[in-house]
């Protein structure tokens, strides 16, 4: 396991980490190594996130984990001003984006500490931050930054 330094400013996110399950363990372990993995269906080749024991596209149960570069573009986004959770409070207003991955799936991701305004269609890349000794968090940042 490579050593990403723990970023104290993100420590409060620990309580938002979902419980480990058989399905999400490989994904979470990869994130702690600084890698993003998706599932790839061995029958129809589509990529999938979140993880399941079957493919949402074709129903096949032949799925393998695959490292993804995680690049994509902003399909839509909002800038949250309301303090819904204490962990996000220091970052208000913060951006939450719907990311269209080049690999196929869409996901929601926080975009924190942005120095320029996001626009729809902006190219983005993953930013993986270690938040505890064993857990990391996936965020996104602008590709041009």
């Amino acid at each position: 396991m490579s050593e990403l330094p723990v970023a104290d400013k993100f420590a409060a996110f620990e309580e938002l980490i979902p419980p480990l399950t058989d399905l999400n363990t490989p994904y979470r372990e990869a994130l702690s190594r600084g890698e993003l993995i998706l599932q790839q269906c061995q029958t129809c080749t589509s990529h999938q996130y979140p993880f399941e024991s079957f493919c949402y596209e074709c129903g096949s149960t032949e799925l393998e984990n695959k490292i993804s570069l995680g690049q994509g573009f902003v399909y839509s986004f909002v800038k949250v001003h309301q303090p819904y959770h204490s962990a996000f409070k220091p970052f208000i207003p913060y951006t939450v984006a719907t990311i269209q991955l080049d690999d196929g799936p869409r996901l929601l991701s926080a975009m924190l500490e942005l120095t320029t305004e996001v626009k729809i269609d902006d190219r983005v890349k993953p930013r993986i931050e270690r938040i505890t000794a064993s857990e990391s968090m996936l965020m996104y940042e602008l590709e041009r930054s």
């Binding site: 996110f13 938002l16 979902p18 839509s76 949250v80 719907t98």
Partner: protein, 382 residues
């Protein structure tokens, strides 16, 4: 599509006070609303053979229908709680019609009641999506994501969203039962605080206590009663279903297919509609709904509101009692109640003149479910 024409009617409507209503339990809101709807119809609890409910949003109790039946001191032949979120307000009517059609029941009460304003509302801030670490909590941020995409695709503006909120507030100002009656301007809207850009506070419906109910029966039974029956002309439903951010098209809803189904079953067209009561939890929803129903072209919803064409007296009055945005944040049941009052000519100073056909539009989740209903008074003019 099978025709519903002249078979089923809404014969009674009722509601408890909307807004801040301490000391009234969720059960009480349901029971008091049903008793008020029964009284309106000239019926009693002993006439009921069905009780159908939409579960409270702030909690999700099991066996909610039977609990309400117990609190009415009846043991009904038919009871159920349907989980289509806001679309349940119409889905339950479809269930009632099925039960009546099968001969299992003749008179059915449908209700919703909740007290998130003075009770608990922890569920309102739960995370949306697979992972709370994405920072998306609560419904406003999710609907704001839809609005942002609509703005990107069609050039919809914040001024146009402001005009949705203003239109509904204008109608609420004529409704003494509305939670918010004070008029505001585009400037007032622009200076209200951001919740989740592109939404400001005035883009969001309030959190409200309240209950509402309606009574469904056959035309035959309706004719024995004292009130003017309101006919259920057509019903349609269609459910986009997927988590909103994974849907191929974000700036759409189930209204297109559900609306087509409702118009076909009623043998009516959009041009026949005199007014609409549209689910408006956030300003973007009625705007998209009008587009999807075909009242305006795709992308034209914003200018339709900006030109005040949805005001009472305009070409298509919408949300005549103030909707979720201003009458009460209750998830949609009040819209059926208002449509019935309009079709009976009980709209008082907010009455749509000559109203014969009304469209009720309901949706739930994050445009996850959708149902449409067409009601009429069969041309009995006020």
């Amino acid at each position: 599509m099978k025709s519903l024409k002249q078979k089923y009617c809404i014969v009674g409507v009722g509601n408890t006070a909307y807004g801040k209503n301490p000391g009234i339990s969720q059960i009480a809101h349901n029971v008091l609303a049903i008793r008020s709807a029964l009284e309106d119809a000239g019926l009693t609890t002993q006439d009921l053979d069905g009780v159908l409910t939409k579960a409270p949003t702030s909690t999700f109790p099991m066996l909610w229908g039977p609990k309400i039946a117990e609190a009415l001191r009846i043991q009904p032949k038919v009871t159920a709680t349907l989980d289509q979120a806001g679309a349940s307000n119409i889905g339950l009517i479809q269930y009632a019609i099925s039960a009546i059609e099968l001969g299992q029941a003749e008179v059915i009460a449908i209700s919703y009641g909740d007290n998130p304003r003075t009770g608990t509302r922890a569920s309102y801030a739960r995370p949306r999506g697979d992972d709370a670490l994405a920072g998306l909590f609560g419904a406003p941020s999710s609907y704001a994501m839809v609005a942002k995409r609509h703005m990107h695709e069609y050039g919809t503006t914040n001024e146009q969203l402001a005009n949705v909120a203003i239109a509904h507030r204008t109608h609420a100002s004529m409704n003494p039962g509305a939670q918010f009656q004070e008029l505001f301007t585009v400037d007032d809207y622009m200076s209200s605080r951001w919740v989740a850009e592109p939404f400001r506070l005035l883009d969001c419906c309030p959190v409200s206590d309240g209950g509402a109910a309606y009574i469904i029966t056959t035309e035959e039974k309706a004719k024995e009663l004292k009130t003017l029956p309101v006919y259920i002309e057509g019903i349609g439903q269609a459910h986009p279903s997927w988590d909103f951010y994974r849907r191929p098209e974000l700036a759409t809803s189930g209204a297109k297919i559900a609306g087509k189904m409702a118009f076909e079953s009623a043998g009516l067209q959009p041009a026949d509609v005199d007014f609409c009561e549209i689910y408006d939890c956030f300003t973007i929803v009625p705007l998209i709904s009008l587009e999807e129903y075909g009242f305006v072209g795709k992308g034209e919803g914003g200018s339709f509101y900006e030109e005040q064409r949805t005001h009472i007296g305009g070409e298509l009055p919408c949300n005549t009692s103030g909707g979720l945005l201003s009458e009460t944040g209750m998830p949609g049941t009040q819209l059926v109640v208002e449509a019935v009052r309009q079709l009976r000519g009980q709209g008082q100073n907010r009455q749509v003149k000559g109203a014969e056909v009304g469209l009720v539009s309901q949706q739930g989740g994050i445009m996850t479910t959708h149902a449409t209903m067409l009601l009429s008074n069969q041309g009995v003019h006020q």
